[in-house]
Symmetry: C3
Subunit: 350 residues, 3 copies
């Protein structure tokens, strides 16, 4: 998978690391500590696993600053080995974008502006008035509706659907099967209980450096926009309803859901299967644990769990105690009886 041999000194520089050992090494690949071979670099996140240094076949290991041991290995000491290894891995894999052009089978509507150095794979269909930036990759079987704008260096994988009027920024990645810009879920019930569809005339806007997993849904706004701001990363099977606003650098883990008109601040984390009620607002840095269900506005910086979501410490204690509720009922009945006995005794004594 890797492309090029890189000098270890160059890698160390990249992550502000200090080499101890053979500074002349050249590195081809980054691998996991178990699978790494000679010539590879790997990483060790926790000091307490220092014995892995001896077991790994890697030629060099990225380790935490505090790790004293070396066990005969060439090491790069960095503040944050998890981060440094990601940076180095990306660097090792980096290669210039190779445009394969637009496959003959691609259907292109009217008035499109497509940069030259892009790749569009077979059987993809573009509507009218589509603008596509530089070094964009669009996979096979993708549908892009009318009036869609796609920025530079963006990757849209196979079988994605992007509906009309969607705007996608630079360096965005959208994984297969995801649907962007489908109608929001909005109806008005009439007297007979029939649901009259509310037209969904808003759009979706996805900012730079967003990544969206496979088989997600991002609905267009009823009016205005559904907006995913820069740097937010979304896992698979996530639901983003109409008029949701997701702030910068949020993490939405698999199967989580943002109901209509939810507003997330920056760096909000939604655990797996977590969800919000519509029209609530989560402050910057809020973390909702997996399966958390948010039913009210949450103040910035808080960590919450449970449904309805409460502060995580409180939830953890309550969830642990939950299994004891039946015993507690029994104990309550026992206490009730013993109090009755005491009351009887006392009234006799009186």
């Amino acid at each position: 998978v890797t492309q090029k041999k890189i000098r270890l000194t160059q890698l160390a520089e990249l992550v502000d690391g200090k080499i101890s050992g053979d500074e002349s090494l050249e590195i081809l690949r980054l691998e996991s500590i178990e699978a790494a071979q000679e010539g590879d670099i790997t990483f060790l996140v926790k000091e307490k696993n220092a014995e892995m240094l001896e077991k790994t076949q890697a030629s060099a290991v990225i380790v935490p600053l505090a790790l004293k041991e070396e066990r005969g290995k060439t090491i790069i000491r960095v503040k944050n080995p998890y981060l440094a290894s990601a940076i180095i891995h990306n660097y090792l894999l980096e290669k210039p974008f190779e445009s394969k052009g637009i496959h003959d089978s691609v259907i292109i509507g009217a008035n499109n502006e497509l940069c030259e150095n892009i790749t569009i794979e077979p059987y993809t269909v573009l509507g009218d008035n589509v603008k596509i930036g530089e070094r964009v990759f669009i996979g096979a079987g993708v549908y892009v509706g009318d009036d869609v704008i796609i920025g530079n260096d963006t990757v849209i994988k196979a079988n994605v659907t992007v509906e009309n009027n969607t705007t996608i920024g630079n360096r965005v990645i959208v994984h297969p099967g995801t649907v962007i810009g489908s109608d929001g879920y909005g109806y008005a019930a009439d007297e007979r209980g029939c649901h009259i569809k509310r037209p969904q005339v808003g759009i979706v806007k996805i900012d730079d450096d967003v990544e969206i997993g496979a088989n997600c849904c991002v609905d267009r706004a009823t009016f205005g926009l559904t907006w995913i701001k820069s740097g937010t990363k979304i896992d698979n099977l996530v639901q983003i309803a109409h008029n949701v606003e997701v702030g910068e650098n949020c993490l939405l883990v698999s199967q989580s859901a943002a109901s209509g008109s939810t507003v997330f601040g920056r760096n909000v984390v939604m655990g797996g299967q977590a969800a919000t009620k519509g029209h609530v607002s989560l402050g910057d840095g809020v973390m909702v644990a997996g399966r958390g269900g948010v039913t009210r506005d949450l103040e910035a910086g808080g960590v919450f769990g449970g449904f309805p979501a409460i502060p995580i410490n409180q939830w953890t204690k309550a969830a642990t105690a939950f299994g004891k509720v039946p015993e507690m009922r029994v104990e309550l009945r026992r206490l009730r009886n013993e109090i009755k006995e005491l009351q009887k005794k006392l009234s006799r004594d009186d």
Copy 2:
């Protein structure tokens, strides 16, 4: 997005509304109260937000009957502004179906009956014996299996899969990525714990005016049919298992699930991520709150929440009290000790 200028009097008539103000107005667009411009109509759902009348740029506002104020605006008073605005919005956006015909690249099997005035976009594949009604739109990259029937005015968006023998009614909308008619999940375990697939030989039937969101799954029946009745609206990422029967005008919110052989009456509401155990039955008008988990039959008209689902009032109280369980345990222990003290004292006194 809008097509035509319509006289305000005509719009008022449409929703049985009473104009107060400039009856000569002509309207082009319906917009949200914040975004509306001169020439637009908008709507105000709640009387308490009457001050928005002054802030909006809209030329006309649909308001509740009871709202006295006008603040210099032309208003239409209606019983239900939310409903009236949906009706007016649809009316303003209405345009005659424009058939673009069947794209040259569409693959069509044998013995098909396709009406002339339809649109089928590129790279869609139809099996044998497919019947398609008038004014149907089928998006790009759709797969329609053999023996499928699709009614009039139905819209199947891009990248949808409709498997063999499915029947879809009139005015149905299916959003991108949804799969209809995939095999139900049914196996029989043998002595060694291997799962023998049960053939799934039933079908899916979708009645008129149903809307199905993006990336949903509607499984075919094992025998007989999985049936979604008219007027039901389904959000994104919803699971409808084999042999489920969903009554008229139900609402199934995002990520909810109906397990095998569940029967929903009319106007049932399943909140986001709500789910049912297999083989249960929910009476007409049952509402299950978000995340509710239905484990038994539910009587008509009830509102339920929690897992297992209980009456919503009971659930709300219990969910609120849940965080107090640890304190309750502490208090129980305290009471136990105090009772012991009392018992000791009393036995001493005896």
Copy 3:
């Protein structure tokens, strides 16, 4: 749907059953007990429903060994009618694979090895170095990346996406819209809270006889492999994260999720919407009830429910008692007051 008339004696032999009645019958179809007609075989799982024998129009009925009654029907007595009926149904529907060849529109990359007797439907795209075994069916609009291996008798339905380097075994079924091999969800946060993508350079391996439902996601590993072992059956909308290992013959019901690096033993069952925290391990035969949330390693053979998942009996009791928590709080307050009274009384008495 059925193909051929089969002698009843042959069917009985297939499932080690004993016929009582007309041994000369020939059977065309297996149907549900309600829908079966003359000439059909059906099955009765529970003895207590013996009266259905009279109501069904079926010519023959598969029943449990213990069922004495026959009510004038020809019956086959077997140990496990549910299993036997599945085996017989499959047998009746069996037909030789008919290769329709590779449709002219299929795009095929370089260096591929495709067996001759396969079917690939229109507008499917194969990358380079793809190997496809005998009697494979690949539906319309499928994307298969580079270096993918697909075994014999495997079925990949329409609009599936299989990313690079995936290995799929024999007799695997993948339903529409499913995505295999999308990037795992892995980032390293930098000092500013930006999320640096970790390259996901591992693969997905799917062993023999696995079935994967519609619109599922199976992510590739960060390093190494995401591995679904033989005989495992996965329902719709299920999430399998990076580096998950699912053992043989597991059942993962709809909307369930296995978080990163989860390890399942053999014959693990995850109920609908159940989920695991990352890096936990579930022993052989573990069953997690619907909506269960696994937060720690679970010992083999256990049955668990709730979140965090606890033994199912404990959970069932606690979940039932849950609605009583508010009453318990009231009772606690009452007891507190009565104890105070007693204490007062006693101190007065002293």
